[in-house]
Amino acid sequence: MIHSKRVQLRVNGREHTLDLTPQATLLHVLRNDVELNGPKYGCGLGECGSCTVLIDKKPARSCVIPVLGVIGREITTLEGLPALSLEGQCLQISPNESLPPLHPVQRAFIDAQAAQCGYCLNGMIMMTVALLLRNPQPSRQEVIEALSANLCRCGAHVEILKAVDLAVSYSQVPLKNSLSTLKPHEPLNPLLKGHDSAIDGSEQANVPGVQ
C-alpha cells in the first residue's frame, strides 16, 4: 500500500495542509484539493502547456511535477494573478465592480478576445505573465519563442499574439494611472456598459458596412 505524507503547500499566498502520496502531481492537488479551475489537464506530458502555473515566478507544467517535489515553493495559478499584479505589476481595475480585479495580462487577453474554446487560455496567460516578468518588452520573436510550446487547437494564435502586445502596453502603465491612461483602448465591453441612447422602433439605425 502507498503511504501518504502530510505536507504544507503554498498556493496563491495561502498555506494548505494536505496528506498526499508520491503519485499526486501538482496539477491534481491544485485542482482537487485547492479546488482551482485555472490550470487544466491537457496532456500529462508537459507538451501542451494547458496546466501552466508559476513556481517561484517561473512557468512550470504542473501536470508533470510531483507535488512532493515543490513543497516549500511559491505556487501561483491563474486565480492568483490579481494578487501577483499588486506585488509586481500594476493592477488593472475591472470596470465592472462585481468582477474581481484583473492582472493586466488577463485584461489584455479579454480585450483582444484571445480565445475560442478557451481551454488553452490558462497556459497562454500564465506563459505571458512569466515572460513579462522576465522580459517586460519582448520582441515578437521572443513572444513566439515563449509561446511556441503552448498549443492552441482552435487557432486563436493571431488574437493571442495581439493580446501579448496589449499586455506589454498595459504592464507599462503605473498603478495610479492605470485607469486614465487606458482610455485610448476600448473598455471591457461597450455592450455590457449599457446603452442609454434612445432606440425608437421607427428610427433607422446606422448599420455600417463591414470592411
Binding site: I2, S4, Q23, T25, H28, R31, N32, E35, N37, G38, K40, Y41, G42, C43, L45, E47, C48, G49, S50, D56, P59, A60, V64, I65, G69, L78, E79, P100, L102, Q106, I110, Q113, Q116, C117, G118, L121, M127, A130, I144, E145, S148, A149, N150, L151, R153, C154, G155, A156, H157, V158, L191, L192, G194, H195, I199, G201, A205, V207, V210, Q211
Partner: protein, 1289 residues
C-alpha cells in the same frame, strides 16, 4: 444577479411567477432520412419547449438546443435576441444544450446554428417584443404603432395619450416597464414563426462587433468547463481501453477481454471499485492520482485482435473496402467527352485520417440518483457533459441507466474545442456506467492517449477525377468519384459493454460539396459510400473539405494545361457571380501575380534554397444531405515558401475572402476565420493519424506523433469581408477552411512545379517529389512544369514510400556492435546457458565450487551478540560522520524498498544470477543489525560475511568497503546503531541454482576480494583545480585532497560497483576496466576515466557541481540511479565531494580546463549543432516527434523558458555515449525524482509513444545533438529489452 441567470427547468416554468415565455411543441425532426444519422426526438411527456423567457426584471433567458464550441455562438445568439427585444446584450442570458432546459435542435453541426436554428429564437424574441408593444398600447389606450421602446421602457408621446397626459391605469407617466406589464403573471405564448422580425436596416447590435460573453470568466478560472465541475462526494474514475485503438466495428469489439488481475491493484489506496462489463473496464478511487495509477497498473489480459489491415496506403485501403456507388449528378456524357478530349487528366487525390485533437481530453461527471430522488424527480441519472448532441447522448445514457429518456438529465457544460464529435459523449457514458456501479457521483477524465486513440477521426477520403480540355483549352469533361468511409461512431461504452452490436453502419456522408463550382458541360458526380474503417465522425468541413481539395487542385491542373492563369481560368468558368466577386476581391487584396506556368517567382534572393509561390482556391461549403445547403463562400490566396533542400513548406501569408451574408458579430466571425485558416494550414502541412503497420490501430497518442501548428508557423492572415449585411446570414467560419488545402497545394506547385495530391505536405513528401522531379527532368529549368503531360507524377507515392523506408530503416546498420553489450544480462544469460545446457565440464566445475562453498560455510563463526551494543560508547560527532559516510555510500539507495521504511531492506536487486533482496540495516534485534557487534559489522563490510556466518553476495559492495579506514568503519557502525529500529520479515532471495548456494562466495572471495584498485599519481593534478580549491578556502593540500578523494571513491563511495564492468562471475574487472564504464540494470554508468565520451571534458569544478547539485551547465543532468545517489549525498560535506571530484577529474581529464574555456567550447559546439541540417537525412519523423514531445523543455534557446535546467542536449553525456540505453531509459521512465527539484521533472513516455516512435526519436536526437558520433545500431533491441523491465528498476 438577474432572474435570467438563475437556472430553471422547463417543467418548472409554468408555475413560476413574473415571467412571459414563448414555447413550441417539440419538433418531430427530420425522420427516416436515408443514410443520415437519426434525429432523436424529445418525449411528448416533456411538454412545451421553451425558447425565450422574459422576466419581470427585464432580463431574458434565451434557450437554444445547440452548444457553443468556442465559436462565439452564445454571444451571437444573445445579440440576435437582444436586437429583437431592443435590449442590451448583458440583459440576455443563454441556456444552451441542457436537456431539461433547452429545446431539442439536434446536433451542433455543419455551421447551421445561425443560418437555420437561430430563426425560432429570433421569432420568439420578436413575438415578445410585439406582445410588449401591444400590451403597452392597450394600457396607454393608443395604437401599437404609437409606442416606442427605449431606456428600458415602453413610451408613448404625451400627445398620443388619452386626455393628453396619462395612461388608463398609470395616470402619471407616459412610460411602462416590462415589470409593469408582467407583474406576477405567468404568460405563455406559442411560437409564431410568421411574426415580423426587426428589419435588418434597423439593427444596432446585430452586425456590430461584440465581445464574447464567455471569455472573461474563462480568463479568470471561473466554473465554465465540465472539467471543473465538482459535487459533494465526487469520486474519480478512469477507464482502461482495449487494444483495438480507434476501431469500433468488428466481431472482436466488446469481446476481446480475457480477464483482469484485481490483485494487481492491491497497493492502490482508496480504491472504490473496479468495473468490468464486456471490454469496458473502469476503476474508481477516492483520489484522482490513485485512479490514474490504477489505470496504469491494472493487469489486463486481452485476446489478439485481427486488425483492420494496413492503412499506410490510404488509397489501397479504401479501394479494397466494400462500397456502394451512388450517382449524384450526370449531365451530358462525361466519359465520352473525356475519351475525345484534347487534353486528358486522370488524377487521384488522397486525404488522410485526421483528428479533432481537442486540446483538453474529454471529461464528464455522472451522478446516479438515489431511489428516493428517482421517485421524487423522475431523474435516474444526471450527467454533466461537453456533448455536441445532447438528446442523442441522453438516449444512449438511457440505455445504460435502463430508464426512459426523460429519466436522464444531460447538463451541458463547455469543453475543449472540437470541430465535430470528439470523445465528449464517450466519456459521459463511461462516467454513467461507473457512477451506476459504485452508486456515487463519478468524474471521469480521459487521458491524452485515450482521447487521441479513440476520438472518432475525420475520415480518410479518396477522390478520383477524370477531366479534360478541348482543343481551345475549354473544360469539356469532369468525372468525379469520391470514396468516403462512414462516420457514425456509436458511443463507445455501448459497444464495449455489448449494449449495442458493433455493426459498421454505412452512412451517405461523402457527398458534401461533391459538385464542383465550375461549368463543365459534361459532368458526372458519384460517391462510394462505405462502412467505417477507423472510428470516424464529422470533422470540420466533413467530406466537403477533401472533395473541394480535389475540385480546386484539378481546376488548377486544367488551367496549367490550358496555359492560362489559374485565377483567370477560375473566373472564366465559375458560375455564381457572388463567387466571382469574392474571388476577384480576394485576389486583388492579395496582390495576385498572374502566372500561366510555375516557378515564375523563383527563389528568395536572400536565401536561394527557398522557392516562392502563390496559389488560389475557392469553395462554397455545401453541407447536409445531398444536394445540401450552401453555407458561406470562401476564397484563399496563399503565399508559400518551399525549401528545395529540406522540403519544408512555410505558408507565409493567407488572404482569405469570406462571404457569409449578414454577419451577426463581425469580430467574432473574423476570429473564426482566423482559426479556420490556421487549423486548415495545420491540417494541410502536418496532420495525419499514424496507424499500426499491420493492424491499423491508431498510434498517434500525443502531440509529437500528431503535431499541430504552433506559434512559429502562424502565417500573416488578411480577411476580405464582403459587404452583405442585408443578405441572410450563412453559416460562417467553417466555410473558410474548405478551400485552404488546395490553395496551399497550388502555391507549392507554383513555387516548385510539383503537384502534391496527398496531404499533409510534410518535408519528406515534398523532398521526395522534388527529388523525383529532378531525376525525371534534370536539365529543365523554371518552366519545366508547364511542359508536363498527363500522369507525370503518378509514381510519386511509391517513390515516396521507398524513400521513407530507406531513410528510417533501423536495420540499416552502418556501425559495428558496441562493446557495452557485454553487460550484466548478457553475462547472466551466457552463464545460465552454460549451466542449463549441463555441459559436463561446467557442471563438474560448479560441483567443485559448491563443495568448496559448503566447506566455506562451516568456517565462518556466528558473531551475533546476545545484547544490543551501547550507543553511548559513540559520540554524536562520530554518529554524524557515520551518517555522512552512509550518505556517501548511498546505503539507503539499496537498503530501502520502494515505499518501505528507511534502511529496513527488502529492495530487490536484479543480478544476472537472480534477485537478491537487500537486508535490514536498522538496529532491530531480530531482523536488523541490533545484535551485531562492531567486529561482526566490520567483518561484513570487509569480508562479506554476515554476523551469523553466512556469506553475503557481492551485490553488497564489500569489495570496496574493505578499504575503509578503521575510524570511518567505526563511525558507520555508530550511525547504524543510532537509527530507529524497524522490525521486518526475512526477505527470500530468488537466485537460481547454483547461485543460491552462499558458500560459493567463499571461493568467489578468494578470487576477487583482494583485487586492488589501480592507483593514479597525484602529480598530474591540474593547477587550476588547486586554485579553485583555494578559492573555496579548503584547508587541505591538493595532494591530501587527491588522496582523500581516491580513498572515498574506492572505499565507501564504491563508485566502481557501478562504473566498472563485471566479469563472468559478477566480479569487478580491474586494470584498464576500473571505473571505465559499465552497464548496471540497463543504465550505462559512464566511464570515470579518459574513456568518458562526454562532448565537453569534465573538470573538477564540473564534477563538483554535478555531484553537489545533480546538474551542470556543460554536461547536463544526473538521471537514473545517479539522481537518487546525488539526492542522498546532500548531507555529504563539500570537502568530501571536492576530494572525489579532484581525484576523478584527474583520472578523466588531466588537462582541467577553466570554466571560461569550457564555455567557449560549449558555444562552438552549440553553434555547430544549430547549423547542422539533419532534415535532409530523412529524420523528419523523429524531428517532428521531438518537436512535439520534447522541445518545450529541451531546446537550445528559441523556446520557452520553463522551470528546470534545460541543459543543452548537444552537451549531454548520454546522447554522446556509446550505447542508447540511458537515453531510452529516460524517454521511457522520465525523471520524476531528479537529484534536485530545481532541475525540473520529466514525465515518462512509455505509455504515450510506440516503439517505432521511440526509435525515430532516439535516432533523431543522436544525429541532431551528437554530430560526428556513429549512429546507434542497437536501438530496437535495447528498446525491446527495456520495455520488458519492471518500471521501478
Amino acid at each position: 444577479m438577474t432572474r435570467a441567470q438563475i437556472p430553471f427547468k422547463r417543467q418548472d416554468l409554468p408555475s413560476m411567477k413574473g415571467v412571459i415565455w414563448v414555447a413550441r411543441h417539440p419538433v418531430a425532426g427530420p425522420q427516416g432520412i436515408t443514410g443520415q444519422p437519426p434525429f432523436i426526438a424529445s418525449s411528448p411527456s416533456e411538454g412545451l419547449e421553451v425558447l425565450v423567457a422574459l422576466w419581470s426584471d427585464a432580463s431574458v433567458t434565451a434557450l437554444h438546443g445547440h452548444v457553443d464550441l468556442g465559436t462565439g455562438l452564445r454571444t451571437a445568439l444573445g445579440q440576435i435576441v437582444a436586437e429583437e427585444l431592443c435590449m442590451d446584450l448583458s440583459d440576455v442570458h443563454l441556456e444552451m444544450g441542457s436537456t431539461a432546459t433547452a429545446p431539442n435542435q439536434g446536433a451542433t453541426i455543419a455551421s447551421n446554428s445561425i443560418q437555420t436554428h437561430a430563426q425560432p429564437l429570433r421569432c420568439a424574441a420578436a413575438q415578445l417584443f410585439v406582445w410588449g408593444l401591444a400590451q403597452s398600447a392597450k394600457r396607454f389606450g393608443v395604437s401599437a404603432s404609437q409606442v416606442s421602446y427605449y431606456n428600458r421602457g415602453f413610451h408613448v408621446p404625451d400627445s398620443a395619450l388619452v386626455g393628453g397626459h396619462a395612461t388608463l391605469d398609470n395616470p402619471t407617466k407616459g412610460v411602462l416597464s416590462w415589470n409593469d406589464l408582467i407583474q406576477e403573471q405567468n404568460i405563455c405564448l406559442e411560437l409564431d414563426l410568421s411574426v415580423s422580425t426587426k428589419p435588418s436596416h434597423q439593427y444596432r447590435l446585430v452586425g456590430q462587433s461584440a465581445e464574447r460573453v464567455d471569455i472573461p470568466a474563462k480568463a479568470q478560472g471561473d466554473l465554465i468547463f465540465v472539467h471543473d465541475m465538482r459535487v459533494e462526494g465526487m469520486l474519480h474514475g478512469r477507464v482502461i481501453r482495449p487494444p483495438y485503438s480507434g476501431v469500433d466495428s468488428g466481431d472482436f469489439v466488446g469481446k476481446s477481454l480475457i480477464g483482469i488481475e484485481r490483485e494487481s491493484l492491491a497497493h492502490i489506496p482508496g480504491l472504490v471499485g473496479v468495473v468490468v462489463q464486456g471490454d469496458f473496464i473502469g476503476v474508481v478511487c477516492l483520489r484522482e492520482e490513485h485512479a490514474e495509477q490504477a489505470m496504469r497498473d491494472l493487469v489486463v489480459h486481452w485476446r489478439d485482435w485481427p486488425g483492420v489491415g494496413s492503412l499506410k496506403d490510404t488509397q489501397a485501403a479504401l479501394s479494397k473496402h466494400p462500397s456502394v456507388e451512388r450517382e449524384l449528378l450526370n449531365e451530358g456524357n462525361a466519359q465520352q467527352a473525356w475519351d475525345t478530349a484534347s487534353v486528358k487528366l486522370d488524377e487521384t487525390y488522397v486525404w488522410p485520417y485526421q483528428m479533432h485533437a481537442s486540446i483538453g481530453p474529454s471529461c464528464a461527471l455522472a451522478q446516479w440518483c438515489t431511489d428516493e430522488e428517482y421517485q421524487a424527480t423522475g431523474i435516474r441519472l444526471r450527467v454533466w457533459a461537453g456533448t455536441q448532441n445532447p438528446h442523442v447522448l441522453r438516449a444512449d445514457l438511457a440505455l445504460i441507466a435502463n430508464a426512459p429518456d426523460v429519466g436522464v438529465e444531460v447538463i451541458r457544460m463547455e469543453a475543449a474545442g472540437c470541430y465535430g464529435r470528439n470523445c465528449a459523449d464517450d466519456v459521459a457514458a463511461d462516467a454513467a456506467i461507473l457512477s451506476k456501479a459504485v452508486n456515487a457521483p463519478v468524474r471521469v477524465q480521459l487521458s491524452r492517449e485515450q482521447e487521441h486513440a479513440w476520438e472518432p477521426k475525420g475520415a480518410a477520403q479518396v477522390m478520383q477525377v477524370k477531366g479534360g480540355l478541348d482543343s481551345a483549352g475549354n473544360p469539356v469533361a469532369y468525372d468525379f468519384l469520391s470514396s468516403y468511409p462512414s462516420n457514425g461512431a456509436p458511443t463507445l461504452a455501448l459497444l464495449l459493454t455489448g449494449l449495442i452490436e458493433p455493426v459498421a453502419k454505412v452512412y451517405e456522408m461523402g457527398d458534401r460539396t461533391a459538385k464542383p463550382p465550375y461549368q463543365y458541360p459534361n459532368l458526372r458526380v458519384r460517391v462510394q459510400d462505405m462502412a467505417p474503417i477507423l472510428r470516424a465522425s464529422w470533422l470540420r468541413g466533413v467530406s466537403a473539405l477533401p472533395n473541394s481539395f480535389a475540385h480546386e487542385s484539378f481546376i488548377d491542373e486544367l488551367a496549367h494545361q490550358a496555359h492560362v492563369d489559374p485565377l483567370e481560368f477560375r473566373l472564366a468558368w465559375l458560375e455564381d457571380p457572388r463567387a466571382q466577386a469574392l474571388l476577384r476581391d480576394t485576389a486583388h487584396k492579395a496582390q495576385w501575380r498572374p502566372h500561366s506556368s510555375p516557378q515564375e517567382q523563383g527563389a528568395d534572393p536572400k536565401d536561394p534554397d527557398w522557392l516562392k509561390g502563390q496559389g488560389v482556391a475557392y469553395a462554397r461549403y455545401v453541407h447536409s444531405k445531398w444536394p445540401g445547403f450552401g453555407a458561406a463562400y470562401s476564397a484563399w490566396v496563399a503565399d508559400v515558401e518551399v525549401n528545395q533542400v529540406t522540403g519544408e513548406v512555410h505558408v507565409s501569408k493567407v488572404v482569405v475572402g469570406h462571404d457569409a451574408g449578414m454577419l451577426i458579430n463581425p469580430k467574432g466571425v473574423e476570429h473564426q476565420v482566423n482559426g479556420n485558416v490556421l487549423q486548415t494550414t495545420s491540417r494541410a502541412l502536418m496532420e495525419e493519424v499514424q496507424t499500426h503497420p499491420r493492424t491499423g490501430a491508431v498510434q498517434s497518442l500525443e502531440w509529437g506523433s500528431y503535431p499541430i501548428l504552433n506559434f512559429r508557423q502562424v502565417p500573416v492572415i488578411e480577411i476580405v469581408h464582403m459587404p452583405r449585411q442585408n443578405e441572410a446570414p450563412l453559416g460562417a467560419g467553417e466555410s473558410s477552411s474548405v478551400p485552404g488545402t488546395a490553395a496551399i497545394a497550388n502555391a507549392i506547385f507554383d513555387a516548385t512545379g510539383i503537384r502534391l495530391r496527398n496531404p499533409p505536405f510534410t518535408p519528406e513528401k515534398v523532398l521526395a517529389a522534388l527529388n523525383s522531379a529532378h531525376r525525371a527532368i534534370p536539365s529543365e529549368g523554371a518552366n519545366h512544369g508547364a511542359n508536363l503531360g498527363v500522369n507525370d507524377w503518378q509514381d510519386q507515392p511509391n517513390q515516396l514510400a521507398q524513400n521513407q523506408n530507406k531513410n528510417i530503416d533501423p536495420h540499416d546498420a552502418q556501425y559495428p556492435s558496441l562493446s557495452q553489450d557485454r553487460n550484466w544480462s548478457f553475462i547472466g544469460s551466457q552463464l545460465l546457458k552454460l549451466t542449463r545446457q549441463g555441459l559436463a565440464l561446467a557442471s563438474s566445475v560448479v560441483m567443485c565450487l559448491l563443495a568448496w562453498g559448503l566447506y566455506g560455510l562451516t568456517m565462518n563463526p556466528n558473531w551475533q551478540q546476545r545484547v544490543s551494543p551501547q550507543l553511548s560508547m559513540y559520540g554524536p560527532k562520530m554518529i554524524e560522520r557515520g551518517a555522512q559516510l552512509a550518505a556517501l555510500g548511498n546505503c539507503s539507495g539499496c537498503h530501502t524498498a520502494e515505499n518501505g521504511a528507511l534502511n529496513a531492506g527488502g529492495k530487490p536487486i536484479q543480478t544476472p544470477f537472480g534477485v537478491v533482496f537487500s537486508t535490514n540495516i536498522t538496529p532491530d534485534e531480530n531482523s536488523g543489525l541490533g545484535r551485531w557487534s562492531y567486529k561482526a559489522f566490520e567483518r561484513a563490510m570487509r569480508e562479506g560475511v554476515s554476523a551469523d556466518g553466512h556469506h553475503l553476495y557481492p551485490a553488497f559492495p564489500y569489495t570496496s568497503f574493505k578499504d575503509l579506514a578503521d575510524e570511518d568503519m567505526m563511525s558507520l557502525y555508530a550511525w547504524s546503531m543510532s537509527q530507529t529500529p524497524v522490525a521486518t520479515q526475512p526477505y527470500q532471495n530468488t537466485l537460481s541454482w547454483p547461485f543460491n548456494t552462499r558458500g560459493l562466495m567463499r571461493f568467489w572471495n578468494t578470487l576477487f576480494l583482494n583485487n586492488p584498485s589501480p592507483l593514479l599519481e597525484p602529480t598530474t593534478l591540474d593547477k587550476q583545480a588547486t586554485q579553485s580549491l583555494k578559492a573555496v578556502e579548503r584547508a587541505q593540500q591538493p595532494d591530501d585532497l587527491f588522496k582523500r578523494g581516491e580513498y572515498l571513491v574506492s572505499s565507501v563511495g564504491h563508485c566502481s560497483a557501478c562504473h566498472t564492468e563485471r566479469g563472468m562471475m559478477g566480479n569487478e574487472k580491474r586494470d584498464s576496466h576500473y571505473l571505465s564504464g559499465a552497464m548496471v540494470n540497463d543504465w550505462f554508468a559512464p566511464a570515470l576515466t579518459a574513456k568518458n565520451t562526454a562532448p565537453l571534458p569534465w573538470t573538477a569544478e564540473e564534477l563538483f557541481r554535478y555531484l553537489r547539485t545533480g546538474h551542470t551547465q556543460f554536461h547536463g543532468v544526473a538521471s537514473g540511479p545517479m539522481a537518487q545517489i546525488i539526492k542522498d549525498w546532500s548531507s555529504v560535506p563539500d570537502e568530501d565531494l571536492w576530494a572525489m571530484s579532484i581525484y576523478l577529474a584527474n583520472s578523466m581529464n588531466p588537462r582541467a580546463q577553466t570554466d571560461d574555456e569550457l564555455s567557449t567550447m560549449a558555444t562552438v559546439r552549440l553553434e555547430q549543432s544549430k547549423a547542422l541540417e539533419v532534415k535532409a537525412r530523412g529524420l523528419d519523423v523523429g524531428q517532428r516527434q521531438f518537436e512535439g514531445s520534447c522541445s518545450a523543455c529541451h531546446h537550445e534557446g528559441g523556446g520557452p523558458n520553463l522551470l528546470g535546467t534545460n541543459a543543452p542536449l548537444s552537451l549531454n553525456t548520454n546522447v554522446h555515449g556509446e550505447s542508447p540505453n540511458n537515453l531510452i531509459q529516460i524517454i521511457l521512465k522520465g525523471c520524476p525524482t531528479p537529484a534536485n527539484a530545481q532541475m525540473g521533472f520529466m514525465p515518462a513516455f512509455k505509455d504515450s509513444l510506440t516503439d517505432s516512435q521511440v526509435v525515430d526519436l532516439v535516432h533523431y536526437i543522436r544525429a541532431r545533438y551528437a554530430p560526428g558520433k556513429p549512429e546507434w545500431t542497437q536501438v530496437n533491441e535495447t528498446l525491446e529489452k527495456l520495455r520488458q523491465m519492471p518500471t521501478n528498476n
